[in-house]
């Protein structure tokens, strides 16, 4: 039996999510034993031709060229897994979606005329069919191993999409929102990090994106009505690494348009 093949693709991103694979120090050689790492430029010069059994796609679509390239990736992939906040929600670079990209280009580059970019940074699923989304900025490497294990054994990966609070309480962490009055996105954020921030005494800033059925409005109301946050702060709270995720985007726009 031939080994299933794995390809790793990069679009606009910081490389952190794919680095998670190399950070599986204990499991890396086992992974390499279980799958044929056929295309992973960050780790290997060798590029084997597709099709690939599983493709991991990191990064968001921000250039006309990438918009074409993702179609090719899809065509060559059996199962396509979008990894990380960039690939699932447009990433931090989706902040451009809320303002004028030209302003940004002018601010950063002395000769902006050389820069070719799209107006928006968008998730992979906005362009092609995505079979599974792995959340996080960055993804959690243990979740990645679970997803790969499931896919290799022919199962549909199933990761919880409930709130960070669930893991926060399971871990016995003391709630930062209730004890310190800090605006915590945990109640509306997707689990996967084991409530990392609260366990370090800080409020969750939503790097895993919205949970299933998030009630962002109830949280935002509490923040502004009881915790003394200003509208501008609410906008910033929802606009970080998952600013482009629909639930977070809608909530920030509600504040921007003053209809709350």
């Amino acid at each position: 039996m031939t080994k299933p093949s794995l390809a790793v693709w990069k679009f606009a991103s910081c490389d952190g999510c794919q680095l998670s694979i190399l950070d599986c120090e204990d499991e890396l050689l086992a992974i390499a034993g279980a799958v044929d790492i056929a295309n992973f430029p960050e780790a290997s010069r060798e590029v084997k031709p597709g099709p690939y059994t599983v493709s991991l796609v990191e990064g968001s679509i921000t250039t006309p060229h990438d918009r074409e390239r993702i179609q090719e990736v899809r065509a060559q992939s059996g199962v396509l897994v979008a990894i990380g906040a960039c690939a699932t929600a447009g990433g931090i670079q989706a902040l451009r979606n809320f303002s004028d990209v030209k302003g940004f280009t002018d601010a950063v580059y002395a000769s902006p005329q050389y820069i070719s970019t799209l107006e928006t940074s968008t998730a992979i699923s906005d362009h092609v069919k995505v079979d599974f989304e792995l959340h996080g900025c960055p993804i959690d490497k243990y979740q990645l191993i679970r997803v790969l294990t499931d896919l290799l054994q022919g199962r549909t990966p199933l990761l919880p999409s409930e709130s960070v609070c669930l893991d926060c309480k399971r871990a016995g962490v003391v709630c930062v929102m209730v004890t310190k009055g800090e605006p915590c996105l945990g109640p509306v954020t997707h689990t996967g990090c084991n409530a990392l921030c609260p366990s370090y005494n800080r409020a969750c800033f939503g790097c895993f994106g919205p949970k299933n059925t998030p009630n962002t409005t109830a949280l935002a109301d509490r923040c502004t009505e009881n915790l003394g946050l200003e509208d501008e702060q609410m906008i910033r709270l929802f606009r970080t690494f998952n600013a482009g995720a629909p639930a977070f985007r809608t909530e920030s726009e509600r504040y921007e348009n003053q209809n709350h």
């Binding site: 279980a34 003391v174 209730v178 945990g186």
Partner: protein
């Protein structure tokens, strides 16, 4: 029954004795801005000189000018965390060429001695007993840990603003299941504990603290404190007819209103000392040969909780909140012959948006009367 008295300083001897007898001592201790249950090895780790201020969605730990050990109410953790661990391996299996072997995981946790837990928490243990060890099937891990555990609750001599144990019959005095129940008495001159040995023969625990029979005066001092506490509960529920009302009004528009405020974040169920729902999960290695099956706390607020092929039964916030409240205050009576709520107030304090069960019940009572 004989009531004893020992000096406050003797707590350390008690902790040492419990440890000598092989117990892990679980007691309140300050951590990250709250009094939580945790393993302690020394009385110095008790939250001496701390009190908590609780309101809906708010908890603040404060320093007091008193030297009391137990001057606070309940924190976010309860004995449930120990008797019914949050995450636990149920069994492991090995699969090779179609053959399957299943190895049950033994639970080699040391027995727990709960020191300084609250009467409502004692009551909550009794409520969980009915679910997890007294039904047609018993949970092995819970039942074994429960049987081996030792309980030394301390009566409440101060009521929290979110407490309503008197409404639910949970406190403020420990009445059942304990090995030794303590009342802390502190005034300008004295600082001592009253001790009531429970049904089980636990008088021998008193020796290490050099306890002596308490005087009538001392006993009265303790009694007064408890009575005063009972008289100033932070909250209240008129339980008459609540079970019937909630079962009757499953379609009431008020559910919709709560649904708008509830974030289905699961905090209330996680902190509730009686909530028992769990989830099981398999973890494989990359070869697929070795599997570990674990279970962890779950919550009826989760979308996946009612997932069946095709979708979740309770997909709206409103339905999930209704399930929770109705289960606690209504269905529990049918299922286990008592209420699922002991009035500890945790779900009120630890709800990040401050939803208050007592207020919601009252609201239903007003809207349906």
């Amino acid at each position: 029954m004989q009531v004893y008295r020992f000096e406050a300083d003797a707590l350390n001897a008690l902790i040492a004795t419990l440890r000598e007898r092989g117990y892990k001592v679980i007691a309140p201790t300050p951590m990250d801005g709250a009094v939580v249950l945790g393993e302690i090895t020394d009385a110095g780790q008790l939250p001496r000189g701390y009190c908590d201020e609780q309101e809906k969605g708010v908890y603040r730990l404060k320093k007091t000018d008193r030297d009391a050990f137990f001057d606070f109410n309940v924190g976010p953790r309860s004995p449930k965390r120990y008797l019914f661990p949050t995450n636990h391996v149920l069994w492991r299996s090995r699969q090779e060429n179609g053959r399957l072997e299943i190895y049950s995981e033994s639970d080699d946790e040391k027995p727990f001695a709960f020191l300084g837990i609250r009467p409502c928490e004692m009551k909550a243990v009794a409520v969980q007993d009915r679910v997890l060890s007294k039904g047609p099937f018993a949970d092995r891990i819970y039942s074994n840990r429960r049987q081996k555990a030792l309980f030394i609750p301390v009566d409440c001599t101060r009521a929290g603003k979110t407490c309503f144990c008197t409404s639910m019959g949970g406190g403020p005095e420990a009445t059942e299941g304990y090995h030794l129940a303590l009342t802390e008495v502190i005034d300008e001159n004295r600082h001592f504990f009253l001790a009531r040995p429970g049904e089980e023969n636990s008088v021998n625990l008193l020796e290490c603290m050099q306890a002596v029979p308490a005087t009538a005066e001392e006993i009265k001092q303790g009694r007064d404190l408890i009575e005063k506490t009972a008289a100033c509960m932070g909250r209240e529920v008129n339980t008459a007819g609540v079970a019937e009302m909630l079962a009757e009004y499953r379609d009431h528009p008020h559910w919709e209103e709560i649904g708008k405020r509830c974030m289905n974040c699961t905090n209330c169920t996680m902190v509730c000392p009686t909530c028992f729902c769990f989830e099981v999960e398999d973890h494989n290695d990359l070869t697929g040969q070795n599997t570990e099956r674990t279970r962890q706390w779950d919550s009826c607020f989760n979308l996946s909780f009612t997932y069946q092929h095709g979708g979740s039964v309770r997909h709206t916030n409103k339905a999930r909140y209704r399930q929770w409240l109705t289960h606690k205050f209504s269905a529990w009576h049918d299922q286990f012959g008592e209420s699922g709520c002991v009035g500890c107030g945790r779900c009120i304090t630890w709800c990040p948006v401050g939803i208050d069960v007592t207020e919601e019940i009252q609201m239903f009572q007003e809207k349906t009367s």
